[in-house]
């Protein structure tokens, strides 16, 4: 029956097209999708976009404020430059101050040379998106200022995005899968499975998170590398995050089981998996999307809490949470408020993920 298969194709295509159309009409979601994509691009090319080696400490660069770029030269031609800086610690106030060294300007160049790295871990190169002429970038370029150890904030942010947007998300995905799966099983099968899962959730949720973290983190072997420790800590955080979702999913499953369209689908002989993913999951997609867009910041914030417990993460595992935690002190607030800029990408990414989620939900909406 070639006629019908052709027909089906049209139907399927149009269904997909439908979702795409619906998604496209959600302008903010579209923009968000681009932002998320841009962040992942940045993470992918982190070393290229960073212009200074993010771990390079130098006391002579401690707490440099964000540096302005001079876009045009005296003749009004486009010629971006930055001023070299002269730093000095006031012997009475002990404050560092930096003044532009008037004679010393540096040209900003695209694709300049900087520290060496391997692109995608393979190709050795020292080309960076931004550079300065006749100097190393870390001696002249501080777009977002530097931290106490004289490390460039911009470059660190860029490199941290890599960790936060990959390993950080693993935890979110883990708790999502656990939550939907266990909640679903609990709601679908009921009986003793339900009772057991419910008790486990109840126990996990009655214990405050801090002892759980401390207990589990102490079990991490001494010999592990910082990245491994980071990964495990992320898993630990997610291990506790799934319970809320599981309970909600269970509740929804219980309620939905009774509804007409599920009964209809059952009568029609649809398989259970098909019912779950085709019918049940979409119907509480909003909740899942809300839960995910909430889990992401929670994950990043949790990292900042860890340092309180003496479980802080150290380089090379730098993440946004680690950078944010570095900014949590009085001297930052008073002397180097620009370090708080770290919160910005976190907010932007969270918002973008959230709007993207909204857009996808609307697009796939069964009621739309």
């Amino acid at each position: 029956m070639s006629a019908t298969t052709a027909e089906n194709k049209v139907a399927v295509a149009s269904q997909r097209q439908l979702i795409w159309w619906r998604f496209r009409k959600h302008k903010l979601a579209l923009v968000s999708a681009f932002i998320v994509a841009a962040f992942y691009l940045v993470a992918m090319f982190a070393d290229t976009i960073a212009y200074t080696e993010p771990f390079d400490t130098q006391s002579a660069r401690s707490y440099i404020p964000p540096q302005p770029i001079t876009w045009f030269d005296a003749d009004g031609h486009f010629h971006p430059t930055v001023n070299a800086l002269k730093g000095k610690r006031d012997p009475r106030t002990f404050k560092l101050s930096y003044a532009p060294d008037p004679g010393e300007t540096r040209d900003l160049v695209l694709f300049g040379h900087g520290y060496e790295y391997r692109l995608f871990g393979l190709i050795p190169t020292d080309i960076h998106l931004l550079g300065v002429s006749n100097s190393r970038p870390q001696d002249a370029l501080f777009l977002l200022g530097t931290d106490q150890l004289g490390r460039d904030v911009f470059s660190r942010l860029v490199l941290a995005s890599r960790t936060s947007l990959t390993i950080g998300l693993v935890g979110v995905v883990m708790s999502l899968v656990l939550g939907v799966l266990l909640g679903g099983i609990s709601g679908l099968y009921g009986g003793w499975i339900d009772v057991v899962i419910q008790r486990v959730i109840e126990i996990l949720r009655s214990i405050p998170t801090i002892p759980l973290w401390m207990g589990l983190a102490a079990a991490v072997p001494n010999s592990w590398t910082p990245q491994q420790v980071y990964f495990v800590i992320t898993l630990i955080i997610s291990l506790i995050g799934w319970t809320e979702l599981a309970r909600v999913v269970r509740g929804r499953f219980l309620a939905l089981r009774e509804e007409d369209f599920i009964t209809a689908a059952e009568l029609a002989g649809a398989s259970q998996m098909r019912i779950i993913f085709k019918h049940m999951v979409p119907s509480f997609l909003s909740h899942i999307i809300a839960a995910v867009s909430l889990a992401l910041p929670a994950m990043i914030i949790s990292e900042t809490t860890l340092s309180f417990l003496g479980l802080g993460l150290r380089p090379p595992a730098i993440s946004w949470g680690v950078l944010l935690q570095d900014a949590q002190n009085l001297q930052t607030l008073a002397l180097a408020p620009w370090l708080l800029v770290v919160a910005l990408p976190v907010i932007v990414v969270i918002l973008a993920f959230n709007f993207l989620g909204d857009g996808l939900r609307d697009a796939a909406d069964p009621y739309g």
Binding site: I207, P208, A218, E258, N329, L330, L351
Partner: protein
């Protein structure tokens, strides 16, 4: 109904018992014991405790016994309505916790009320006016609240309070009431100190609740019963408040039980920063110093409150959700 209650209370008791075991195991996970922590702390202060003394202390505090013996002794205490002795404070655990538990509950309930009071209306507004300017503004503020760690927020508030308003934020009592016995003046003083920590504590929770309320309500608003209610001639306001909001609120009833440990977990760091006399810092401290009985008692108390909170919220759910009440849903 009665059978159900009996069954649930039975389950609750079993759950609490399981919590005691899990608690004990978790607190035993980190290496070392209280005496180790104690020796480490003493070292940091420049005091040497010899190995022999450490052994004597271990014996005096029964830490040389196996975990299960310690557990058994603790349970024996609990059965008698006691909770044993805090190693670090040298006083019965109940005395150490003292007023802190009630202040914690007070602060948490206050924070929960603030959270709900802010989140539900905003959530309803955001759902009904989805994609309006207002919705976007609330979304933005909410996520900013989520992305700024509580610690930083509290610190900023305190710093601004000092630099700009020249007030010292923190604590739950003014210095003149710190040591005073309870009186109306002290209660009034407490009331004056509660809003700032409550607000900080509520902020992250509010953003979360707004998102969930908005999502739930969006799902409900799409349902046909809303159309039929409209077709009956109800005003828009009444349509929304009576039907979808009612349905969207339903899942929240089931979370009431968990709010307390959740808020307490969230309050640990805020309490530390703002020097609030709640159980949060005590818990953190007992964990760091491995003060087993103090730590496990606090966790147990929260656990009991949670389990009964859950029981209550299930009963509440039963009461407000006819589908459950009439046995439609298990």
């Amino acid at each position: 109904m009665l059978a159900y209650l009996v069954r649930r209370v039975g389950l609750a008791v079993i759950t609490i018992w399981a919590i005691t075991i899990v608690t004990f195991i978790i607190l035993q996970l980190p290496p070392g014991d209280f005496v180790d922590a104690y020796v480490a702390q003493a070292s940091a202060m420049g005091t040497a405790i010899s190995a022999g003394e450490a052994a004597a202390l271990r014996h005096a505090y029964g830490l040389d016994q196996s975990v299960w013996v310690q557990y058994y002794k603790w349970m024996a205490h609990i059965v008698h309505g006691e909770f044993g002795q805090s190693f670090e404070y040298g006083r019965p655990v109940t005395e150490v916790i003292g007023d802190r538990l009630w202040l914690t509950i007070l602060l948490s309930i206050g924070a929960i009320i603030v959270t709900w009071g802010l989140a539900l209306p905003i959530g309803i507004y955001s759902a009904v006016r989805q994609y309006s300017i207002g919705d976007y503004i609330f979304t933005f503020i909410g996520f900013v609240g989520l992305a700024v760690p509580n610690f930083l927020l509290a610190l900023i508030i305190m710093y601004v309070g000092l630099r700009v308003f020249n007030v010292s934020v923190g604590g739950l009592f003014s210095s003149e009431f710190q040591l005073a016995p309870w009186s109306w003046a002290k209660v009034w003083d407490l009331a004056g100190h509660l809003p700032v920590p409550m607000l900080i504590l509520a902020l992250a929770g509010t953003a979360q609740l707004v998102r969930i309320m908005r999502a739930n309500l969006l799902d409900e608003l799409r349902r046909p019963y809303v159309v039929t209610a409209r077709a009956r001639g109800l005003s828009e306001r009444r349509v929304i408040m009576k039907y979808p909001v009612r349905a969207a609120l339903n899942p929240f009833a089931s979370t009431i039980g968990y709010l307390l440990p959740y808020t307490v977990s969230g309050s640990v760091i805020i309490s530390v920063v703002l020097s609030l006399p709640t159980v949060g810092p005590l818990l953190l401290h007992s964990l760091i110093s491995q003060d087993m009985l103090l730590g496990s008692t606090i966790i147990l108390m929260l656990g009991v409150l949670t389990v009964f909170g859950t029981l209550l919220s299930d009963l509440l759910l039963m009461w407000i959700d006819p589908r459950i009440r009439l046995g439609q849903l298990k």
